[in-house]
């Protein structure tokens, strides 16, 4: 985060908390309870900025977000992780889609170095998703259950012989 933006964000966090925060290191001086209270009071959209500012403070920042194992902080800590989880992770419906359709665009497969870096990802997919993707984009298959490697080899042969 650029210095000017960090300073403005910290000034806002300071107003929310009722104390002066000028540099990211000032977050280190907050108790776990104060830091979690700050996280609880700011809108969801500011949580990534807060986490970004905590980077560079070492393990102390994460320990404070965990509540430093104090029972009184547990509720605040759990609420922080629930909100941050909902904010930064993909919605569940994306996981229910065919990951190959989302993350492996067929045009990118012409770059064999890129494609080879996706082999492990490809091999982890369910064969029905592989068959759907290969059929739609490369007119290959269908392949039987547990034939992910065979399907990968067929794709590789198609692209390297083209």
């Amino acid at each position: 985060m650029p210095d000017e933006l960090a300073a403005r964000t910290l000034a806002y966090f300071g107003r929310v908390l009722g104390r002066r925060l000028a540099v990211p290191g000032d977050l280190r001086d907050l108790t776990s309870h104060d830091l979690l209270t700050l996280a609880d009071r700011i809108p969801d959209g500011f949580l990534p900025a807060l986490v970004g500012l905590l980077k560079g403070l070492g393990p102390a920042g994460f320990e404070k977000l965990l509540g430093e194992h104090e029972e009184e902080n547990r509720e605040l800590s759990d609420r922080f992780f629930q909100r941050y989880h909902a904010l930064v992770l993909e919605p569940v419906h994306v996981e229910e889609s065919n990951p190959l359709e989302i993350w492996l665009p067929p045009q990118a497969c012409q770059d064999l170095a890129f494609l080879s870096s996706r082999q492990a990802f490809f091999l982890r997919q369910e064969i029905r998703n592989i068959n759907e993707w290969l059929s739609r984009n490369f007119q290959l298959g269908p392949f039987p259950a547990d034939a992910q490697l065979e399907a990968w080899n067929a794709l590789w042969s198609r692209l390297t012989s083209a």
Partner: protein, 103 residues
């Protein structure tokens, strides 16, 4: 505390064996989603625990993701190292770094 990765572990050894751990290291080529998926698949963590590890590795640069015998830790670590690139990031070209350490 050190055990060679190639050192055989007998049943007696395993009862007395020092515990080992798998440590995951941060980089800028993997998303939170990838880390959560990786840890659920490779280390049998719940999504909630995996997410906390993802935040820890992001903030602290490293996180311990598994404790166990040397053999089990090496198996889990190999799975992490073989998990491949993060498909969500075009610039991601390899797995995250991880290693087995004596506890």
């Amino acid at each position: 505390m050190s055990t060679s990765p190639s050192q055989p572990e007998t049943e007696t050894d395993s009862a007395l064996a020092p515990l080992f751990k798998v440590v995951l290291f941060d980089d800028d080529e993997h998303t939170y989603d990838y880390v959560v998926e990786l840890l659920v698949d490779c280390c049998s963590l719940s999504r909630e625990s995996a997410f906390r590890c993802a935040v820890e590795v992001d903030l602290s640069g490293r996180t311990t993701v598994f404790y166990g015998t040397g053999e089990e830790c090496r198996r889990r670590c190999d799975r992490i190292l073989g998990y491949g690139a993060d498909p969500r990031l075009p610039r991601s070209r390899s797995s995250m770094k991880a290693e087995v350490q004596g506890r």
